[in-house]
């Protein structure tokens, strides 16, 4: 029993190994070498038709190579030696042919598939290009449609605006007609008004002309009157001028007379004032008051001022101070006894002493008083007598009445 089981297991193991070993053949057993070669040839032909020769050259060449090998193997299998070979060898040969043919078929199929893929890729490229073109065209069309739509809208708007414009124009025409009518009415009224105005203007012009004529006449008359008046006025002016000149002359004369009168009054007053000076004779002469003081009353024998002389000079000083604006000349005189030169010196000395005393003791400015000696040149009495000589020996103080 155990021996039977062991034998059965051995047989099963052998069968299993055989099955495993012969599996590829079992897989490919459905085909015969001839049919597989035919199938490979058909596949290669199909691949060629698909353009595999150009598009999948390597695979196509490999397929042909495999087919060539398969055909070679098939031919050698039909040889006489193969005919007498064992079934195992035959199976191995068939298996090799099937393998080679299958490889050829597969390579042909691959070549065909790759060729088709290339064709498909090219077609896809074309289709995509077409699609891109169509997409561009669609975009363009859409753009055009949008533009057309816009244009339609614009046209519709334009149409609407045109209608509105027409309505507006109609209204405007109506208004225009109304205005024209009103304008004509206004113009008519204006013309009437203008005519009336012209008429009134004409009348006004006539009135104005008349008025102007009247005015001209009045003006001429006024002008004549004015000329007459002007002449009269000129005459009056000349007369007035002459009168004024006369008046001016009279005024000047009056002023001179008044000045003279004033000077006389002044002189009179000065004479009156000078008259108060003790032991002095006063007289007016040629615009000056001459105060004469005998030398005997002024000087001592030594020709010095004595007390009587100082009293007299005090009176003279008061007089000069009363008339501070009047200048004075102190003039010394001698008689003719002695030499001219000595007399001259004496007269100058006496005049100078009086001047200096007035300045020193009576506060009379030296600038107001001048002094000169004239010696015996201007006697007032005869020098033949003592009385006459006494009169000639004198000092005269000339006070100029004019300021």
């Amino acid at each position: 029993m155990d021996a039977k089981k062991r034998r059965s297991r051995k047989i099963l193991s052998l069968l299993f190994l055989g099955l495993i070993a012969f599996f590829p053949i079992a897989v490919l057993a459905e085909e015969t070498p001839a049919s597989s070669i035919e199938a490979a040839q058909a596949a290669i032909e199909q691949a060629r038709k698909a353009g595999a020769e150009q598009k999948a050259g390597d695979d196509y060449a490999a397929a042909k190579s495999w087919l060539s090998q398969a055909e070679k193997a098939y031919d050698s299998a039909k040889s006489l030696i193969s005919m007498i070979s064992t079934p195992g060898m035959k199976r191995a040969r068939e298996e090799e042919i099937l393998y080679l043919a299958t490889m050829a078929r597969l390579k042909a199929l691959t070549a065909e598939t790759r060729a088709k893929r290339q064709t498909t890729e090219a077609e896809l490229k074309d289709v995509r290009k077409d699609l891109a073109d169509y997409s561009g065209a669609i975009a363009l069309l859409k753009e055009k449609l949008a533009e057309a739509q816009k244009a339609r809208e614009v046209q519709a708007r334009a149409e609407s605006e045109r209608r509105q414009l027409e309505e507006t124009q109609q209204k405007a025409a109506q208004i225009e007609a109304q205005k024209r009518k009103e304008l004509e009415e206004v113009q008519r009224k204006a013309a009437e008004f203008e005519a009336l105005k012209q008429k009134e203007l004409q009348e006004a012009r006539l009135k104005a002309a008349k008025l102007a004529a009247d005015r001209e006449q009045e003006a001429a008359e006024a002008k004549a009157k004015e000329a007459q008046l002007a002449a009269q006025r000129a005459k009056e002016e000349v007369e007035m001028k002459a009168r004024e000149e006369r008046l001016s002359t009279e005024k000047q004369k009056l002023a001179v007379m008044q000045a003279k009168l004033e000077a006389l009054e002044r002189e009179k007053a000065m004479i009156a004032a000078a008259g108060k000076i003790p032991k002095a004779a006063v007289k007016a002469e040629n615009g000056k008051i001459i105060i004469t003081v005998l030398a005997i009353n002024l000087f001592t024998r030594a020709d010095e001022l004595g007390p009587a002389g100082k009293e007299i000079l005090e009176g003279v000083g008061n007089f000069l101070k009363a008339y501070p604006n009047n200048k004075a000349l102190v003039q010394g005189h001698t008689d003719s006894t002695g030499t001219q030169a000595a007399n001259q010196a004496v007269s100058e000395k006496r005049a100078q002493r009086v001047r200096e005393y007035l300045a020193a003791y009576q506060n009379v400015s030296l600038g107001r008083i001048m002094a000169e000696g004239v010696g015996p040149s201007k006697p007032v009495a005869t020098n033949a007598s003592e009385a006459g000589r006494a009169l000639n020996r004198r000092v005269e103080i000339h006070v100029f009445t004019g300021e």
């Binding site: 897989v27 597969l106 169509y134």
Partner: protein
Amino acid sequence: MLSRRWVIFGAVFLVATFAISFAGVARADSIGPAQEQEYTDAKNALAGALKAQAEQFAPTHVKQVNDLLQAADNARQARDAERFGRACRLARTYAELAKALAELKAEEEKLAAAGKALQQAKTEIEDLKKSQ
């Protein structure tokens, strides 16, 4: 006796035939680095196909690749280098085909979508032209 001799001869002939056949079919060569590289290439090709969404667009071929890779694994266990190599190469080729098909389908879908968009664009253009 003769029949016994023919039986022995027959048995020897069968054993020899089987031995020769088996030797021809299951050559137990060792799998080297070159074959392993082919296996790796097949796996990478499958990964590439899956990345290209081959499961969605070429599920039959993906299944075929997986079956072939399983067969390669079995051949590795059986230490059959030739079958291993064939299974790997077939798996890789199927994976490449699956990837190519997936890429083609994807492109076709893109093309279909683009065509649809193009058609829509054409329709839209017509509509736009009408509305003009």
